[in-house]
Symmetry: C2
Subunit: 275 residues, 2 copies
């Protein structure tokens, strides 16, 4: 019997996906916020990074991942990738029909507006996310008076994946990128990439304590908890939750880096080629 | 009529390929060394970078690219990617049959041995190239007494693609990576990634004038010139050569970055999806 023939129920898993392993910071936040939920993760590690690729290519890859997760009968889809949220969210929503879709950009934008006092919001992200202008659009949808100052920070993902988390070069790079953002009068800064929570302490030091950081992993977990509660889809089964991790490639250091993102042991990894 | 039914002749193009745009430094060197040759380039920009992917995935991608170029009836294949040369050269050679295959690693290794006086050779490259130990093997094949000191420099490609070529952060990163290599008594350093020629002046300053840099783009051009001359396959047609550039994705800034690598205007770009 095809999984697609059964409607998802409260015991169905939450499907989370990303272009790579960054989305594991969202899985971590979900595990902490919703410890009873089953989770299926897909990371497109064979084709990562999406941040430098064209819209057309990203939409094709997104379609393949969404179809894969829908076949697993997920009850909700979490787009844990800013680039996908920025340029291919409609691809996901069309395929998902009535299944809730939560994306990091909408979640981050609405949280930033709750936190800001002066409506001056900074965003740091990959260049595709920044060029898509998606945060500015999401924020304008909620509040037309808010102003968004964005900065593409292409080197932060490679620095994090190199493991240079407490490194002077990383600090100088963060400082260099933040200069034009801090020259504006922002009081809130969105970490617009799922990798960036790993640099949160360093970024907080650089921006000072007067600026609030929006960690979209935490924000997404909060949003999905509300959504599932409203739809009466929270899992109340008290047995150990099931976590499955699918990746399109298992590269060198995957386990090490993945566990840094997840903050715990990474088990049940399967290689799944798409396309 | 299928191109594969005709044997390549001297007017056939040289096929050059890379995981992305780095191989354009090899095309540049080829244009300068062999100005009469037609060139077809394939860059797998939709799936770049290969440096962090598994052997199995890289071999599959390499097979697809090789088949594409063979259908274009190329007279020689240049593997302008250290990662592919390191882990999938046999995939290319098997498919190429009697067509010459020149790869950056063999070319760089044999040039380094010609240049070194003390047989202590440094190699900087991506982590997959370093982990594959391919330079050490290629060098040992020629001279068992030579010693190879390698260092993976994962951040140099992103720094170059960010355009931070004359930047203090890049200099500090280069210095950090070179420390363990310079602690050994090397007199020759192989730039084991086709991106690195763009940092050649900075790297030369950092290592000092006593250490010779091996630029594999230049070395490959020299090797293929010899190979084609021996096989009587040099193009003597005096009309303007034909340059075709195929990429699996045309990302943001592709033109700008590509022209930096090629050192001239980048025309006749086509998007070609593989797999």
């Amino acid at each position: 019997m095809n999984n697609q023939d059964i409607s998802p129920n409260s015991e169905s898993a939450i499907g989370v996906f990303d272009s790579g392993i960054g989305g594991l910071t969202v899985v971590k936040a979900l595990m902490e916020r919703l410890p009873h939920e089953n989770i299926i993760y897909f990371g497109d590690t064979a084709r990562v990074p999406y941040g430098v690729k064209s819209k057309k290519t990203i939409q094709l890859f997104t379609q393949q991942i969404t179809e894969f997760l829908l076949q697993k009968n997920v009850k909700a889809l979490v787009v844990a990738c800013n680039t996908i949220s920025a340029v291919a969210l409609n691809t996901v929503k069309k395929l998902a029909h009535n299944i809730p879709v939560i994306d990091v950009i909408s979640a981050g934008a609405s949280e930033a507006l709750k936190v800001t006092n002066n409506n001056q919001i900074g965003v740091i992200a990959t260049s595709t996310t920044v060029n898509s202008n998606a945060y500015a659009r999401a924020i304008a949808n909620y509040n037309i008076n808010a102003r968004v100052i964005s900065k593409a920070c292409s080197l932060l993902v490679p620095l994090i994946e190199e493991g240079w988390l407490n490194n002077e070069i990383t600090r100088l790079t963060v400082r260099e990128y933040l200069k034009p953002v801090l020259a504006e009068n922002i009081d809130t800064l969105i970490l617009g990439c799922t990798h960036y929570p790993l640099l949160k302490p360093m970024i907080q030091t650089e921006v000072g304590s007067d600026i609030s950081l929006i960690d979209s992993a935490i924000t997404v977990a909060k949003t999905i908890a509300n959504e599932l509660e409203q739809k009466k889809l929270l899992n109340h089964d008290d047995s150990l939750p099931d976590y499955q991790f699918y990746v399109s490639d298992i590269p060198l250091k995957f386990q090490t880096i993945g566990e840094q993102f997840l903050g715990r042991t990474l088990e049940h990894i399967e290689r799944q080629i798409l396309g």
